[in-house]
């Protein structure tokens, strides 16, 4: 294998695949990056036990020669070291040559590195994925869909299935749900381009967080291909594979109340900031709990107290309070997470009693629903 490549293009490609490479892995070859060069260009692959990222650099782009291929071939090189070398090389071109016994030479200007690579045939193969279950979501929408749900996954391994986000497609509607059993986040979306068949899959939360770092904020389509064990997200230059979690996701639909006793419509940003302030006191206690009390005259009070620090209280005007009077306690963190996901100024908070889960959504649409289980404090 021997080729010469524009250094900044190689670096761009490495920046993409490096996101999947972890130095902590039980499979030693996964600390490496696979390089495969053909007449068409250079394919880079990096991965860990959950996700794999692949990117392809074309030999010619817009009439410009990016790669000069002298001999086709492939090699696995230690990822972190190779990335640092390419980052620090002195000139705009890099020559990479692999001789017998995986001896790899990296040259740029008068600088020359000799490192030992690994046999690329030992690198895990990617699953074959058929395109018939493919659908498309604009990148920015996919990103917000992830941010509106993934924070609510469980971080405990006691019920592994809850560390993922449940994606299901039924009647042309994609529903994404995450819950740690203390709160729940749900995002619904009508798909414009439908795949063949329905599905119900659980994607690891970590994979979705990594995915959202890689995809841009453009409206370009990301193609999603769901299989039984893997999901593939395809952007114009990156393939992002994640394994799916095995097991059945609990039926969460019956958790969401259908009748409400108190409905408060208010400015979500003002509520967020008041809870953020109250949390300064609340978090000094172990549980970070704040109180929400309806005071009449469309005013609510947010308050908290800590034996060590002191107390805080604040009144906020609401747009409207309908139904029964209410005094309820909940986790400041869960409420702030939920308000961030719902976003915007006009938020509807609906309660069914002090010990029953309550919901948050936007006044304008209910594509995003957040549910929080309150806490008994008195």
């Amino acid at each position: 294998m021997k080729f010469e490549i524009m250094r900044h293009r190689l670096l761009d490609g490495l920046n993409d695949v490096m996101k999947a490479v972890s130095s902590k892995t039980t499979i030693p070859i996964l600390t490496g990056i696979k390089l495969e060069v053909t007449e068409e260009g250079l394919r880079l692959t990096g991965g860990n036990s959950d996700i794999t990222i692949q990117t392809f650099i074309r030999a010619e782009e817009n009439g410009e020669q990016v790669i000069r291929v002298i001999e086709e071939g492939s090699i696995v090189v230690q990822a972190r070291m190779f990335y640092e070398i390419v980052r620090k090389l002195p000139t705009s071109y890099v020559e990479i040559e692999v001789n017998a016994h995986f001896h790899t030479h990296i040259r740029s200007g008068k600088s020359e590195f000799h490192i030992i690579g690994q046999d690329s045939s030992e690198y895990p193969l990617l699953p074959e994925i058929q395109d018939n279950r493919q659908f498309a979501i604009p990148a920015d929408l996919l990103k917000s869909l992830v941010h509106e749900t993934v924070f609510a996954i469980s971080t405990s391994e006691s019920r592994p299935i809850l560390t993922g986000v449940h994606w299901s497609l039924k009647n042309g509607e994609l529903v994404c749900v995450a819950t740690d059993s203390h709160r729940l986040a749900r995002r619904k979306m009508t798909l414009e381009q439908l795949p063949i068949g329905e599905f119900s899959s659980v994607i690891p939360g970590k994979s979705l967080s990594e995915l959202s770092k890689i995809i841009g904020d453009s409206t370009q389509s990301v193609h999603v291909i769901m299989t039984n064990q893997q999901v593939l997200f395809k952007t114009s230059n990156v393939l992002f594979y994640s394994r799916l979690l095995e097991g059945n996701y609990p039926d969460t639909s019956r958790l969401i109340p259908t009748e409400y006793k108190t409905t408060v419509t208010m400015d979500g940003k003002a509520l967020y900031q008041a809870i953020d302030r109250a949390s300064l006191v609340a978090r000094e206690e172990r549980n970070n709990i704040v109180q929400f009390t309806s005071l009449g005259d469309n005013v609510v009070e947010i308050s908290s107290s800590s034996a060590e620090v002191g107390t805080v209280e604040e009144e906020i005007s609401t747009t409207l309070i309908e139904g029964e009077e209410l005094k309820i306690s909940f986790s400041a963190k869960y409420m702030m997470d939920a308000l961030k996901a719902v976003g915007g100024h006009d938020v509807k908070v609906q309660f069914t009693g002090v010990m029953r889960p309550f919901t948050l959504k936007s006044v304008h649409d209910d594509s995003v629903l957040q549910l929080i289980v309150p806490v008994r404090t008195y």
Copy 2:
């Protein structure tokens, strides 16, 4: 005590003093900030066992009323909590009122915090410092003086005196020296405004690092007042006190060679980058050692090898090599630190033999001198 203050001015002041407050301290009251309000304004004090920072916010600035003082007084409040509260308050004004038993009320808009403060008379008093040993250094020069020396202090507590930088004034010249016994950094400076008397003091390296974060890049004077146990740096709005280290600093002048066998003049940036690259391989070994070899024709080779990773070599053209041929090994990190401190393109590296300390300085002046002890590798 009761006063109202513009929130962003209070926040600016807190930003200054917070730099000295540590949550890890053996003296509980030092987790607090002292507030003292008089008709003239608000004095804020924060500190740890090494440094104390004090700032003063005038009640009136440029004809604008910053503070409305209703009742003079003082209090100590928990620093981190108070800072976070002020940062998150909803309006541009903050009212602070202290009642009996140090009950402290913080009001802004409809938000109200009640926290318990501490008796300000329990806060340590600052040393009285007389101005007769005062001299001035422009802020940007003071900052570079710190950066050119402080990295070379010892991080080990086995010889505590070496964790400081030795500042001495003799014959109108300020000399700052730091060493960890493997390398040494020295900066000389002629003072324009001389204090009364000479001094020889050791300032903790950590204090100088903190100081350099606080002072700006302006050419405004920083006044330095040296006493037997403390040093005070005065800028227009901040007083920065540091304790001095006790004990005698070793005489380092005889370590610096006066005769040289090989002198290499070369581009400091090119040398830095080549060593940075070689260090990618070298640091995989425990000692991070690179080789420097003169090759003739005014070329030197930088190389390194690691049994695990491989090898690297690179040739660099120099301006001139005078004297004996040379092959020497040293720490890549020490060399990079030294080159950063010397700065610029024209660097003179002078050797007295493979096992003797060698020096680096700029071709243009010798105000900054760096010395490195080489390593035996063959």
